[in-house]
Amino acid sequence: MVSRTVLAVDDNEDNLDLIEDALSKEEFTVIRARSGPDAMSLLMSRQIDLVLLDIMMPDMNGFAVLEMIRFIPRLMNTSVIIQTAHGDEWNVERAKDLGAKAVLSKPISPSELLEEVRGWLIPCAGR
């Protein structure tokens, strides 16, 4: 059985732990990236089925990662779910404009996260 791969991108280790705990109990493989450039290298070199993307990161924020995904042909159809801190409502519009599937508010609720990821990735479907 081949599991689907989720790339979790966040500069906060605790949040990456939370995501990994929530998703790896299911059939998902979670790969971690701690920065935008890390995320781009992994996207270019690995098969990623879905990206969970933090917005506020130093050097390269989530919007820049999302825009870059959209202009690289091999990656442009990758599903992306945004995670954002409270009070960034203006972010939601920009994320949706860039084709994000969903916007989750931090702190992330594991059950909500799992539901969204499942919604966009039925485990092992079609493989």
Binding site: G36, P37, D38, M60, M68
Partner: protein, 139 residues
Amino acid sequence: MSKATILVVDDSQDSLDLMQEMLEPQGYEVRRATSGLEAVGLLRRSAPDLVILDIMMPDMNGFAVLDVMRATPALKDIPVIFQTAFPSQEHGRRTVDMGESYMLCKPLDANFFVKVVERCLREGSTGRKCEHEDAISAD
């Protein structure tokens, strides 16, 4: 021999104009990008001989552009010059940590800038200690 192609990246049009005015009279072909993302897009299409990167830009700063370049085989050996209007010890430390030698401060002095560009094109931008302005001027 055809002259080198240089990509200049800055979110300020004035700063791009200024660099273009300093470089074109030297015979260099100058390409411009107004954001880190636009720079990565241009770099993916064709690789220049040198990239001059502003550090502080929204969404994707100069350090992130360099990170992406270093992770891309076709781009990893292109020399890079950083420039910033707000130099800090943190930026200097990161420049050295990333193996780069040049962090220039705005406003750029035309003669000094052109000398750094020439040296970078000749010798690359990595693997030496961070250059001090006097060392270049004494060339």
